[in-house]
Symmetry: D3
Subunit: 261 residues, 6 copies
């Protein structure tokens, strides 16, 4: 087992990009995995896939160059271990606000003695090779989502948890807990300051920061800011945007602008 | 976003009825949604649907007049938020026995600052409109199930939780914890007294009481008793009853009476 | 392998009833299979199930007393053989209007030398026993649907096809080709005369007549008329009727009357 | 039942656009149905959906303004009738090369006496209303695909078939049978001449021409040429294009250009 | 309701064997259920099935002689109750390390007054009969997994929890927490001593010990050691082994030895 | 696009083996694809998969070394083209008994001018590369099943059809039409003579012969007989055999011997 994404982040390769899948569609996952993403994340929190569809999506990525990851819906030990056994090379856990929550999260991702992950990697060795279980503690990426005011206050305690590879910054939820608009205020100085606080703390701890960038131009503004990886948009949004661009091109009728997906 | 069911309950419209779906079938959901129910609830606790089938069922209700709700299996923050993101206009949470449990439940249903719900309403804006997230805290219905002796004892503390819209009364579980038969004793004075205790406390708090009525005649006996909404029977039971009625009509062979579904 | 339905029809057991499933739901199939039906048919023509859901439905009938059958969408040799391999004990083929069509249908249901069915009964022996393939030619029921004016004209030629077990009468389509209303004219003398013509021809040929009765009272009017088996209503209609009866009972609001399913 | 697309085409409303779905994803269908398409077609020929996924996709369009259509894989009477029963308001049949093939296609789409469609509209009345079956012969749209040299030669005989609403022009297959490249030669004079031959014949017959335009700029070049409806791109291509545009914007790494989907 | 497995374990029937299903395939479950297993367990922890596939698998076992059980992913009250409602006759809960965890687990498996299981056995009565809910507390098997050093230390406190039927020993995880290799050290004296400690404590408490034996020869070495039931191998491993044996037989090319599934 | 199996058969590589999948399980397909098979065939005729499950199975083979093929249920042009668009590198068509049938089969597998395959390779380029459509006519393998007495009589006419790559010999059906037992007579001289007749004719025509060998020892007896490829057993049978071997090893209780799958 070798985690290409981890190796490239460690090598400080610039410009790494992560795709985000909310549509729960294996066909979409397959199409997207043949685009030059560095990693792809199945979003089981706000996305539409159950575990079984998630496995179909991971299979669709087989044979591509992307590193597969999953964002789980919550700090649920059962599901986190299931997606690891199913071959996710990285897990993103929402709403990690305290050091204790972070320790719990990391613990279920690591085999003893580092943690408490249960042994039984059903599908992972098929993707990662027969040495999977021996290397998993070193290779599987663990990202704690930092997305609340409380988490920012606890950032040093959180990032110092052994076995945590880095943090995943969720600017929308972070803005909400800072009293800002989660859609309109993504460039608000208060939010940007909090993000910088996180990034600096993570860098100090020698770990990775991943930045969630839903609008594409946000990803551009977040370039060259020291993030190890940026998520850009998501499959549903890309599709809706493409349709809206199509309508702008082909006819004058205005698109509905429904924000969904 | 406008929640018709909430508006009608607020207007004290009498006789509102809620359908209950345990079969996990999108086709059943579609057929039922074209009947004059005021709301429909996908039962993910005792019913047979996973999240993905639940989403198919919510889609099947598109274009109908029913308000879609989901009963989740347990106080699981991840799944509660998933069904909200998927467009449920109301959530019913089982086994809320203490004020603390109720606060946790309500918290995950409300965006900050009222709660801790994570931002990312994937499908909901498609159903509810682009203003979904701004109105969700006001419009999404939250029902705590009152179904144990302990919950009855804590009823005032529970119903006073800010952001809770009302309670959902489960008479079978309530009867079990009162030492009664969950099927045969639905009209037992002890049970009826507990139900009345709940209803009065809820009314005092200015909130909604929803009554689960599995036999149809129970729904009739519960009419005009001050409940904002009554659930009547469920899809599996209706189907089994219809088959049994068919056999009574067509031939003399007695139906098996299997209680399932 | 023993086909209970065939044995009972041969013994001229009166009052045999067949359930009809259009909802494509394994849960519905399981609930219904525990009611005292003599056989159950998954309708793949006008119903909503693909092959895979059909197999789930056949599995749901495991361990019950009903004899499982499938109505295929059309005279498609591939699918007819798939449902047989999947364990259907009877196949109903729509729109058999000529002797040649009937011969083709029967041929794909029988192993050589009686027919051309391909060998490979994947799931059937699990249900029927290891002797399945040796007894299948004798035990699997084949029903040709007689549902057009042309088929009535060819009825003697059709029913005399060796290996055909009987006919399945579709009164709605038959009424359409007779210039009648497929819903309102089910008791029209012209239709009833055509049905009687069919029944007499089948009886003369020593085979079985099955009558499709969508309204329950039609099934009652068709009792004691010499049919070997009657289908009564379907799962979607039973559910809609049960809901409408529920509304008549519980409140005065009229049901929508949507005819679907 | 009222077919908005048919009414608008009859009213010669300009600029009508049809979406094309190959990904087999209900979530994609739902997102797209909230964009201002006039109709949407589930492609069961080259797309990835089976019948059951197609039904989920049709349900996802519930409550939107688009008119739902299906392209079937082939002139298969069973499946054509299944998608109609499932609520498709239009059917596109591939490879109609002769008048006889066209007659067969139209026949299975029309109830007697106009055709031979079997009665049993399971889901359609839920979408279209209880009068579905009485209006279906008039409202359901039937499009024969003209996509071979042979079909062009037979165009007058094909379009004169009673009950056929129009033709659907497939330029890629047409170019192949004309000895051209199906991707690079879409503007070749030989192909354009054949398309014009078709369009003129259809106009003479007083019927509708629908033009399949896979690249968006092809749709623009085909505007104002007398087509009643244009298909523009498809969901998989839109997604791949959006990803490629994203990569052009965010970083310099070239997209892979994989043509799939 | 009668639980054959429980009755046979109580009668100390020797040599009882449990099958283990990780592939998440209803077809596999059906094939396996017709082999002479005494019980079969759907592994929802390390296996690939969601709840809905698990229900399909339970249905596939209908009509066979095996007693159906489920290993849940974690001590999740919602899912444990769902699999019971779906007809599992036994539940195996991972990582029960303390008496308190064991009490929580047992509580959600038992109706009041013994526990807190919510009433609503949707599918179970179909399999188990209308008396299901009255007998479930006595008949449903509850197994706590003992698979950590901590659990061994707490073994007496754990096994004395009322309502617990027995323990399920997971040697791989146990070896990990004992500092051993979870694959190579299954016969290590330290591990065997811990297993014997568990077995003796369970026997003293008058309960059942179930032993997980992944390699077949491990099952043989564990015979006649006082376990009430042994799990042998799993469906994915059996399939891979059969393929490898096939390659050894048919050709000299060595099998890849990928350990997956 | 490069078809490794075709290249290796052309190079007369000895001992090539094909896996056969009837269980319809993507997990099984994934496990098996990591064993050293040279090709794998999803059996859609006697197996349990619909098109959608077949696509999941093809995706599960992504990244492995096996060449994916599909046996279709019948000579259905729609489905044959769907599985090709979905990325099958070879198609096996049952019951090709005449030259005309063979011509129809080959025609739908080849783009004009060689055939009539419709253009729209949705998933295939993802697996095979952007040049898929230009190379598909040369690289996609077409196998006609020879499995009846009539086909043997027509063998020279069948194998000489241009564009046909070879034949697939089905000994069970062949034995049935020769008046033999499809299970017990696989070594009957009459059957072996027919097989040799086929093989010689195919060799004369310079094409490939593939031999279906259900029992493993049959595959061994068929080695070194000039077949380009041998299918050995199938997933369901391997699993059942492995279970039976397990029972022989672990305990004396005889396996049931159910022949299913």
């Amino acid at each position: 087992m070798n985690n290409r994404l981890k190796a490239r982040m460690q090598a400080r390769e610039p410009g790494l990009l992560n795709a985000w899948l909310v549509l729960g569609s294996p066909a979409v996952a397959e199409v997207m995995s043949r685009q030059p993403w560095d990693s792809m994340t199945v979003d089981m929190q706000h996305g539409l896939s159950d575990f079984e569809a998630t496995v179909h999506m991971l299979r669709a990525m087989n044979g591509s160059d992307v590193t597969p990851m999953v964002r789980v819906p919550w700090m649920e030990p059962g599901l986190i271990q299931k997606v690891l056994d199913a071959g996710a090379f990285g897990v993103i856990c929402p709403m990690v606000n305290t050091r204790e929550q972070c320790e719990q999260f990391v613990s279920v991702c690591r085999y003893a003695p580092q943690g408490t992950r249960s042994f039984g990697p059903t599908r992972a060795p098929v993707v990662a090779g027969a040495d999977y279980w021996k290397k998993a503690n070193d290779e599987v990426l663990t990202f704690a989502m930092i997305e609340t005011r409380q988490a920012v206050e606890n950032i040093d305690a959180i990032v110092s948890v052994p076995g945590l590879d880095g943090v995943y910054i969720g600017p929308s939820d972070l803005s909400l807990t800072l009293g800002l608009d989660p859609v309109a205020d993504l460039d608000h100085p208060t939010l940007l300051a909090a993000i910088e606080t996180i990034r600096v703390a993570v860098e100090r701890a020698g770990k990775f920061s991943v930045m969630h960038c839903s609008p594409i131009d946000y990803a551009m503004r977040m370039a060259n800011k020291g993030f190890s990886l940026r998520t850009v948009s998501n499959d549903g949004r890309l599709l809706a945007m493409a349709a809206q661009e199509l309508f702008r091109t082909v006819k004058s009728r205005p698109a509905s602008g429904a924000a969904g997906y």
